[in-house]
Amino acid sequence: MIKIISQKLYLRVALSIALVAIVVSIVSSMLSYYSDLKEKKNTNYLLVQQLAHTVEKAATIAAYLNDQELSQEIINGLLSNDIVQGASIEGKSNTKGEMELFIANGTTNKQKEAVLVKLVHPFLDDTFIGVLSIYPDDKFIQQQAQAALKKEFILMLIQSIVIAFFVSLVVQRWLTKPIQNLTDSFAKINPSKPETLKMLSFKQGKRDEISRLTQNINALMHELHLTISNEQTLRKKTQELEAKFRLIFEQASAGICLLDDKNTITTFNPAFKHYFTLPGEEKLSTLHFPELLNNVEKLQSLLLDIRSDINPPQTTLDVECKIGYKTVWFHCLFVRLTDQRQNNRSPQQEQLVEVILHDVTERAEREFQTQFEADHDPLTDLFNRRAGEKRLKKALRECAKHGQHLVLMMIDLDKFKPINDTYGHEAGDKVLIEIANRFKKRFNDNTDICIRLGGDEFIIAQQINTYDKTATQNQAIALIDELQQQVSISNTRTCAVGASIGIAIAPTDGTELHELMHNGDKTLYHVKETGRGKVAFYDDIKIR
């Protein structure tokens, strides 16, 4: 109810006090009413008793004489008192049982509260001649008490209201108004704007609670102001720093990502994303790093290694991977991140690995090209002598290791020089390219090695598990047959070359390369001397 009436504190206090005062006045008035009523009743009873004693003598005589008039007079006299409600005089019944005198007036039926005076014979002390009954007027007493109650209640009410008024005044003056001022000045403060954190005004020299509260708030706000200002400066610095770092991270041309202990990518920069998404794709195909680079096992073992404390915290690796249809080379730098902040990072995060990768496809391709150019004959794309010998040495080692055979065919073209001379070098080159293609077509296993030693001299080496001389011979004869086919050197012109082959088999015909080649050469020379276009085996000619 009070809430509805007003939100103002002082009014509410006043109303509460008034309410309590009213209740208290009602209760106390009621209490005093009842005690008063009782007391008044007693007083009245005493008064009535006194009255009774006053008229006792006259009543005695009246009763004695059975005097109606006198009795009536007495009773009327009694009734003229406000406190008397009714009165009666009755004589004692005589010997015949008749009551000789009964005079009554007013209300005389309430026996309980009546004041009864026994009338004694005026001349004989031991004889009763009648009873005088007087009935106190309870209604009158009640009315009086009620009037007193009303008066008292009104007085208390007035008193309560006056007290409530002054209390509200005092509360308003000493409590509500200062609090209101405090609230008002507090409302001007915007916590997000430190410049509004001004000192709240309060009366100097006052030592009451509100002033002390204000002082404390001021002290608090001062501290708060300092803290917030510092905080803001710091935040500004952090923001600037963060922006710089972000710029570095986001604008870096290198792809940067962080891997957790399960090799899952947790963070990556735009360059990283750019590397691994095809145009039009929004998301990385997978967040599992090794899978993303199509090199699962190698990367996993590498990442496992780098996480171990024994190994150096960083390592690099060039990885080839396919993105869409493109083959891309990445130069990856893996760094184990040791947390520089010592505080409370979970051990999981100490296992983080940072990966920085650069797209080195161009460089790698260039390197491959260079390597290819260094290893191959520019005309035929067959291995040149230097690279070829290297390969042959390696093949020999592998054969020795695995108990294999290496078939070494020394090939020399017949009738090539006249083509060069007749049709020019360009035509000769065309023939050489065609011949090389025929080699490649026939010997295209991984273990087959085709070498152009120079001019029209070639070596074809084959790593085979079981050596079958007839098969090898057939193979060589079939090669010669194919080489003898026509080669088109221009739109209208064709020409043909022949070939002689000398075959040496490792390890039978030599375990060292130079020995093997020497023997092969010897065999070839033998073929050339004994008529070209044939195949010869070293073990056939060495007997002679």
């Binding site: 006259a58 005589i61 009246a62 004695y64 004489l65 059975n66 005097d67 008039e69 006198l70 007079e73 005026p122 001349f123 004989l124 004889t127």
Partner: protein
């Protein structure tokens, strides 16, 4: 001299009064009625009721006419003292109070003791009190003080 005579007179008077009162102390009263009255005896209460105006009849219903001895006589005073333990003045006050209510009718005063005796002797309704020593045949004693 005159003073001495007065003094002497006063002394004699007071002595006389003393004698009278001593005499009165010893007076024994009886209540008497006419010889023809059927009442033979009355109780003290009945005597009081008749003399104090409660009843104007004898217990048998006949009218009673009480007689008083002369006012300010030793007899009257003594009688009432004996009867209701009140002196004559108090009795007078009692009657004076009753007069206002219109009811009061005090006993008829007699001129003298003899007069009273005569009235009793002649009237059947009369009732009176006399010293025991004055009782004659003409009246009937109905009550004697103990």
């Amino acid at each position: 001299m005159i003073i001495a005579r007065n003094l002497c007179f006063n002394l004699i008077l007071s002595m006389f009064l003393l004698v009278v009162s001593m005499y009165a102390e010893s007076t024994e009263f009886v209540v008497v009625v006419n010889k023809n009255n059927p009442i033979n005896a009355l109780s003290k209460r009945e005597v009081i009721d008749i003399y104090m105006g409660r009843y104007s009849t004898f217990p048998d219903g006949e009218i009673s006419k009480p007689l008083d001895l002369p006012a300010k006589s030793a007899f009257k005073n003594d009688f009432y003292l004996k009867l209701v333990n009140k002196d004559e003045q108090q009795i007078n006050a009692y009657w004076a109070r009753l007069l206002f209510s219109g009811r009061g009718k005090p006993p008829t005063p007699s001129a003298s003791l003899e007069d009273a005796l005569k009235t009793i002797a002649s009237s059947q309704y009369a009732i009176g009190y006399i010293p025991l020593s004055h009782v004659t045949d003409t009246v009937k004693v109905v009550y004697t003080f103990d």
